[in-house]
Symmetry: C3
Subunit: 252 residues, 3 copies
Amino acid sequence: MHQLIRHDPAILELRLDHPPVNALDSATLIWLTEQVRSAPEQGHRAIVLSGQPGMFTAGLDVPHLLQRDREGMRQFFFEFFGTLRALGESAIPVVAAITGHAPAGGTVLAALCDHRVMARGDFKMGFNEHRVGLPVPRPVYVAFENLCGPRLAAEYSMQARILDGGEALAIGLVDEVVEQDQVVAQALAWCRTILAFPSQSVVAETRRYVRARLHAAFREENTDAETFLNEWFSAETQGAMKALIAKLKAKR
Amino acid sequence: MHQLIRHDPAILELRLDHPPVNALDSATLIWLTEQVRSAPEQGHRAIVLSGQPGMFTAGLDVPHLLQRDREGMRQFFFEFFGTLRALGESAIPVVAAITGHAPAGGTVLAALCDHRVMARGDFKMGFNEHRVGLPVPRPVYVAFENLCGPRLAAEYSMQARILDGGEALAIGLVDEVVEQDQVVAQALAWCRTILAFPSQSVVAETRRYVRARLHAAFREENTDAETFLNEWFSAETQGAMKALIAKLKAKR
Amino acid sequence: MHQLIRHDPAILELRLDHPPVNALDSATLIWLTEQVRSAPEQGHRAIVLSGQPGMFTAGLDVPHLLQRDREGMRQFFFEFFGTLRALGESAIPVVAAITGHAPAGGTVLAALCDHRVMARGDFKMGFNEHRVGLPVPRPVYVAFENLCGPRLAAEYSMQARILDGGEALAIGLVDEVVEQDQVVAQALAWCRTILAFPSQSVVAETRRYVRARLHAAFREENTDAETFLNEWFSAETQGAMKALIAKLKAKR
């Protein structure tokens, strides 16, 4: 099960551990939301969100979700949006320690963090939602724009491009690429620099400017669950997801 | 005369063909506006806007326009803004296949599209309006900012810089540079990737986020024709345009 | 004392000359505000803000300011914000001729200008306010975002990074790096290009688009002096500033 690791000074590492691919199922999302939301009141001052060696998270647990009915999926989207909002609105900095693959939902979680450190190697990230007919919530798109600029956010999202760490670094989707065994250490180092500054209220003030556009997007969010539900249960998207599952099964 | 070419699957190519330089005269602008506006209802799902080998468009037909009176120019600006708005607000993606030179008005049309493929070679684009004393409509400036970021949009517009494909690619003014005979093919490939995604309503939803800033700029547009008319008929701008024409004539 | 130098055509150079480090004391700030505000009505059409060889400005005069009481500091922040606003809202272009070091307050002044030319060499700029527990006014943060994009503005501000000219050029914090004895000449050249365009009213119109985001930030500015005063007199920030002064003294 997922691990909580405490680092000095008051940094909480949330290490995803849900074999085989750290899929974002209900339990994981609920746990993440709760941990991120309660971290400040428990005295934590920064969060590192990490995964397993070679796998940050493969994103939504599509094979499982395909078995859910509309009510079940409504519940799921509620949980998923809750995690996105918890990360996007976190009162303390969150650093993504991208220890491996992070396509689709993995890229989404990372984009909502304050800083991203990725493992060197043949690991994939992606704006690949369009390939299976899934939309991107608007605040997530705003996060992509903040990181990559409007032109590249458009280009990569519209074309649903998948990219490796080198390309992710080149377009600003990640901030650093380091050896896999250094990813968490580097994420901690980023937090420690900030936590060592003399006035944490000044740091928090700057961070409000930094996150202003993202916070506004979460406040204005009008991507209601119905849109996602309609897309999810459309014949096209169901077909695309089933085809993907079949392809992944054939690969094994 | 301009050509309409239909490509699979449901992609409409609008190929400018108005020798010698594809100047944007009234007839061309009216044709472009009509084609872009009516394309979706005629079943087209994407548009490629192309030119002739070596010449996308040289922009406004200044020698002809210098003969128009204020009423004639008011009509012209109405037509020109209409084309800009048709491109900027197009319900389906438009890709600029920049087959050659695209200074001033050519750069403006390209910037309002969804994606830009430029021909390799010594072809010029430019933010050179200031050189002849002409303003840039605000939505076009917003498009420049989306592509290049605020700093470079400012720098290139204020200094009225002219640039070749390599520099255009470096600052994000174009997305790809390919061999001249591959420009249209590459523009079609971009459309085909998008049109092959399973859910076109999801693609349209993402595209609304992508184009949101540009759409807002067109809605807020308060650059009325009067400003443009006053500038056009100012002694300074008339002088600069006449000097340009004289220089171009002397070159031939 | 600071120098006023007139260059053709109607360019006013404001050369900071306040040994040893061009510290931004009250007299300097009041002089800068007054010169920038009155330049247009005195017939100047562009401003170059320069420093001494090797030193643009080291920023706020912290050793002196530490002796001020709350009322004295309130007065000082009023003067400092006045200069920022004068630069940010200047009716004519201002080019920063960064002739040497420009950390903290030096970076702030430069970021509010229209264009930045920096001297080649081992000169430092920085977003290093967090190191001494000082906040950045919101319009200044908006200027950083305009120059470097949201991701890098966040990264450099949050981590309070100090950088040299090469890195400043790479992230867009400066626009050009030239030999030290060419910095002012290059700043003048930038102004001359613009002033030579036929229609200065068109140039001013484009400049309104270019500066729109920054102007809006100054209008919305709700960073009142009280926030700055509270931070300034906090035990943490006072301690950090005193430690800095001690360290600088020990170095000499």
